[in-house]
């Protein structure tokens, strides 16, 4: 089979438009969710309820008990990270430091999450 002759029918002109629109949509989501201003506070939740709401100005470590064990969270230099977590995949630990408003690290198995918020929580279109 001749791939050069075949390719245009597999990928038609409108398909390229859809793919390009898809890239635009991904970029807009990225800009909207990942380039927010630097946050002021971290809200740590355990099983859906607020465990701690603290300023990022002062460095500290905190241990959050969950159903699997202790999730340790570190705050330093206006950033926060999960130091250790008993979950099997370690996704929230590998995520590293977070500092922008709206950024979250979720340790799903241990039901612990932390989110960076501003002094006043910003509203986006989803909140309306």
């Amino acid at each position: 089979m001749n791939i050069v002759r075949l390719a245009p029918t597999l990928l038609r002109r409108g398909d390229l438009g859809v793919l390009f629109a898809g890239i635009l949509a991904i970029a807009m989501l990225g800009i909207h969710y990942w380039t927010g201003p630097v946050g002021d506070r971290v809200v740590i939740k355990r099983a859906g309820t607020v465990f701690l709401n603290a300023s990022l100005d002062r460095a500290f470590n905190v241990s959050v008990p969950g159903p699997l064990g202790i999730t340790r969270i570190e705050v330093a230099q206006k950033k926060a990270r999960v130091l250790s977590d008993p979950g099997p995949r370690q996704l929230c630990v590998r995520q590293g430091w977070i500092s922008r408003v709206g950024e979250v690290a979720i340790c799903l198995p241990n039901q612990v999450s932390m989110e960076i918020v501003g002094r006043v929580r910003p509203y986006d279109s989803l909140d309306y």
Binding site: L10, R12, G14, D15, V18, I23, Y33, G48, I106, S113
Partner: protein
């Protein structure tokens, strides 16, 4: 059924050729879903969704009604096979499939001269992940900003939508060549 002498006889369900075709296509989709469940995923919820190739082929060759049946059977019977029936995973699977079909029911009217299987596949993949994020946000994790991860999920939908669409386009082309020959 009554045999006319007042005795009960064997009740048979008459299955049509249409039923056999549906069952065959659903079984094909379920086996793809099942194979895929064995592949480890880097992030929960990120999967190629190979069974959607079957949905696309069925949509193009037999129409929306058959695609709806095949996808519905796949979600229900597949989840029973995988042991996830009526779990949150099943609800997400069902929600994703229904959102995909809703988008496909509109997108199938795009002129086929310009919009091939890749367009359908990418649009359906975006609808799929949007519905699943909405379900997680509204029902499973209402207190967590799950949309923060939406660019990652959207990018995965784009990649797998493209690859599944190319596979479907290739298969459709081959089958149209065969029927022409």
């Amino acid at each position: 059924m009554w045999d006319g002498c007042g005795h009960m006889t064997v009740l048979t369900i008459n299955s049509t050729a249409e039923d056999h075709k549906l069952a065959y296509l659903a079984a094909l989709a379920i086996s793809l879903m099942w194979v895929e469940a064995a592949i480890p995923s880097p992030l929960p919820g990120v999967k190629p969704g190979l069974a959607n190739i079957v949905t696309l082929l069925v949509l193009r060759q037999y129409g929306l009604r058959t695609a709806f049946w095949v996808a519905g059977l796949r979600v229900v019977a597949g989840s029973i096979l995988l042991g996830s029936f009526l779990t949150p995973g099943f609800v997400m699977s069902l929600g994703g499939a229904m959102a995909s079909l809703a988008v496909l029911s509109l997108a199938q009217y795009l002129p086929q001269r310009y919009f091939g299987a890749v367009s359908l596949s990418v649009l359906a993949a975006f609808a799929h992940i949007a519905a699943q994020l909405a379900i997680v946000s509204a029902w499973l994790m209402p207190d967590v900003n799950v949309f923060y991860l939406s660019p990652v999920f959207a990018a995965a939908a784009w990649v797998f939508g493209l690859s599944n669409g190319l596979i479907a386009a290739q298969l459709l082309q081959r089958s149209s060549h065969e029927s022409a020959a």
